[in-house]
Amino acid sequence: MDLFAYIGREALVCVREMGRMMIFFFSFLYHLFRRPLRIRRVIREIYDIGVTSSSVILLTGSFTGMVLGLQGYYTLRKFGSESLLGSAVALSLIRELGPVLTALMVTARAGSAMAAEIGVMRITEQIDALDVMTLNPIKFLVVPKMVAGIIVLPLLASVFNVIGIVGGYLIGVELLGVNPGSFFHEMDASVVFKDVYGGLIKSMVFGLVLTWVCCYKGYYTGHGATGVSRATTEAVVLSSVLILAWDYFLTSVLL
């Protein structure tokens, strides 16, 4: 009996949380289309996310590309089709790994910072201070972050893809001796526009999801320093899970 009570209680908590998240999202939408737009704050957020995440994107991008070159080469060689390496590297990056890994890295770098920043502002009454100044905190803090996330994720994912392809090229062509002409020719022949914009759409959705979750968790943080640290952890975990779940759904729709 206790078990059922427990499950029921957890389910209720879960449903309530989802409801609050949806309300949070709708108030984001509402304030998104209300003036003033606060472009300067959006640019500032784009800059913040970009700066904090770009070095880690460069690093993970190059290593991902290099390992794809390595793995792809040894797999493709079994079928005698090393020449397809370029297309294998590019397609896996553009369609899948670029958007997903970029989103995970941005969550770890910028998303956690967002949750912590908003959480601290909440517990030190800075959000209340904004409120009495008639600056709606959703409008003032959350909308710029979420808009910036939607804009900046596709850009970072593109950087990731380019660096990754360079890494794959270095390993495949320079190290393992694949013909450079066929590397790029196969890539050119197999990557179509749909792959590129599919990847970009994924990135935008991930940007929205991760900023939404991180801002939400910070906004409704618990009490004190432990509350903020728990909010930050939950933000990162939930964002990561949702990114991977959405990746599946988006892939099945976009294919």
Partner: protein, 249 residues
């Protein structure tokens, strides 16, 4: 004028406000006293529209803010300047930017005029030369003064202070009192001060309201407060009875 009628509020079953009735006169300085944890900050947060009551109304110049939303509520909120108990300074902004913040976000003044006004006000709270520092680089008393400057910069009609001088030395306290009296003389604003220092009430308040167990049990002038026969008030002032604890009288 601020008029509070039968205000009730509870948090998770704990009744904090239990039928507050209070009229705060316009253009005067009214102190709210009461025990620590008695609900003074909660009452203030209702007055400035941050919390919604379970029951009751708050009229600011005749409009019931508990029933207003959106732009109409914002119009009332713009009458307020608020000094929070913890200061609530924006910790990622410098002192200068904190004080300039309301002007930048809410007015069309250019940077030149903003600089002039901010520097004049920082001078008044004797914080010139601190402009570039961040809130965590200055002392608690300085933070309070920055918070007061930020609340005053928009020259609001109603200034609300939550314990503006708690934990400060007598000299800083005097400076802050001088600021308040100077400000109200200049702009004739209404001031509400939450405090538990009787000394402060006697020094600067025109009226005083005592909050006890969720109700206003006394509303008088400071002179009458100290001669009051009300046992709860007596207990609070002398700090003897279980009614209250006396802090640096």
């Amino acid at each position: 004028m601020i008029k509070i009628v039968d205000l009730w509020k509870s948090f998770n079953g704990q009744e904090v406000l239990r039928g507050i009735d209070l009229e705060i006169p316009k253009g005067k300085r009214t102190a709210i006293i009461g025990r620590s944890g008695g609900g003074k900050s909660v009452l203030l947060k209702h007055i400035i529209g941050l919390l919604k009551p379970d029951r009751g109304s708050i009229y600011i110049d005749g409009e019931d803010i508990t029933r207003l939303r959106g732009e109409r509520l914002n119009r009332i909120k713009r009458k307020f300047g608020v000094v929070f108990q913890g200061g609530a300074l924006f910790d990622s902004l410098t002192i200068y930017d904190n004080v300039a913040f309301p002007l930048r976000e809410l007015t069309d003044l250019d940077e030149e005029e903003i600089r002039e006004r901010v520097e004049r006000l920082l001078e008044e709270v004797s914080l010139s030369g601190m402009e570039g520092k961040y809130p965590d680089e200055i002392s608690g008393g300085m933070r309070k003064r920055v918070a007061i400057a930020r609340a005053m910069i928009m020259e609001p009609e109603i200034l609300v202070f939550d314990e503006p001088t708690t934990g400060l030395d007598p000299i800083t306290t005097k400076t802050i009192h001088a600021l308040m009296t100077g400000c109200s003389r200049k702009t004739n604003c209404t001031e509400v001060i939450v405090t538990h220092r009787i000394r402060e009430v006697l020094d600067i308040a025109h009226f005083v309201a005592m909050l006890h167990e969720g109700r206003i049990v006394e509303f008088t002038t400071p002179q009458e407060l100290i001669t009051s026969e009300n046992p709860i008030v007596r207990g609070f002032i002398t700090g003897k009875v279980k009614g209250g604890k006396l802090q640096d009288f």
